[in-house]
Amino acid sequence: MNTNLELCCPLKSEETMGMLLDYTAGKLDAPQTAALEGHMALCMDCCEFHSAQDAVWAALDCWEAAPVSMDFNHRLWQKIDAEKAAPWYSKAGLRNLFAQFSPSVWKPAASLAAAVLLVTAGFVLDHTTPHVNVPSNSDTLSVSLAEADQLAQTLSDIQLLHQMEAAGAETPEVE
């Protein structure tokens, strides 16, 4: 830190202004303090700066923090014990992983995903041709053979009926 204050006023640069803050905070060593006090005796700007900073310092001193709750440690150890007893899938690592996706991240992402899903579904429905069961060649062949067999059987039956009718007509009636 620059202590050659006769040549350079601390207020002229942010680097050296720290000296004035440290002086107010009582953090300067004896030689630096003596040098700065000597400078301030001649420099009205530094003197005013120190006076105002001193007032701020005193104002901040009056703000005492509230005492910590008596059960702070107890609550903390309860949380630690709960974590130890928790199953592996609820451990902090996984939780932290999901915690990274805060609502501000996943809400727009969920909306986007829903929109993409709708567009995809629309595209698929629009471009899908009606499904027609076209039989394969082997199916066609097997169906045809079966039909031919059935037809032949039917013709054979008809022929047999005709033969029986003819035989019945030739037989004399018995009284």
């Binding site: 942010e14 680097e15 202004m17 720290g18 803050l21 905070a25 953090k27 105002a52 900073q53 001193d54 007032a55 701020v56 310092w57 005193a58 104002a59 901040l60 001193d61 009056c62 703000w63 923090a65 509230a66 910590v68 709750s69 702070f72 440690n73 609550r75 903390l76 949380k79 630690i80 974590e83 902090a92």
Partner: protein
């Protein structure tokens, strides 16, 4: 415990005591964690309280800081001062809390509850008069408002500089920026505070 110190030996000689304790926690020594908790609980809660200006939120955040420290024990490496690590986590959590606006509800409650206690204590017996207490409350509120009006990083820098008595290099490590950036933050912050609080004389608040 002394056995633990010997185990780490010369390698840990250069470490700060907190880092040594944390290395013992890494080895499974929960008593060392208790020591760290006792040592840093109050400064941490006070820092967080001044950051978010809400005591229950500050305590919740402080608990989260210690939980994270405990969870990280297995992978802990003493690459930085323990307090730097501690306050870095705390600052991140406080800034997130402020951005999420978690402490808005508590602010009013705090004003009602905690500040109400002080005049009662001071009015008793030979304490200050009601007028003095009211004046004190008004000025305290002015200080709190002035701190709250600072941008978040400036606020964190001022609180670490003023109340935790950290030097520029440590504040820079906590805030993950350069020392000159910290000086710049502090100057702008104190400039704002001077313009708002300089009318308070040094003895005017007591």
């Amino acid at each position: 415990m002394s056995q633990g110190v010997n185990t780490f030996g010369a390698a840990s000689a250069a470490l700060d005591f907190d880092a040594e304790l944390m290395l013992r926690v890494k080895e499974g020594d929960e008593d060392s964690f208790r020591v760290l908790l006792e040592k840093h609980r109050n400064p941490l809660v006070h820092f967080l309280y001044r950051m978010v200006q809400d005591q229950p939120v500050a305590e919740e955040l402080a608990q989260e800081v210690f939980l994270r420290i405990y969870r990280s024990r297995a992978t802990y490496e003493p690459t930085a001062k323990f307090t730097t690590w501690l306050f870095r986590i705390a600052t991140h959590l406080a800034l997130n809390s402020l951005r999420d606006g978690k402490n808005e509800r508590g602010q009013e409650r705090l004003d009602d509850e905690r500040d109400g206690e002080l005049p009662t204590r001071q009015v008793a017996d030979r304490g200050p008069t009601v007028e003095q207490s009211m004046l004190y409350q008004a000025r305290l509120q002015e200080v709190r408002d002035a701190i709250a009006s600072l941008p978040e990083k400036q606020r964190a820098a001022v609180l670490m500089h003023k109340y935790e008595e950290m030097d520029y290099s440590q504040i820079a490590k906590v805030l993950e920026c350069s020392e000159s950036a910290v000086k710049s933050l502090l100057f702008r912050a104190y400039e704002t505070l001077r313009s708002r609080l300089a009318h308070m004389s040094a003895g005017g608040l007591k």
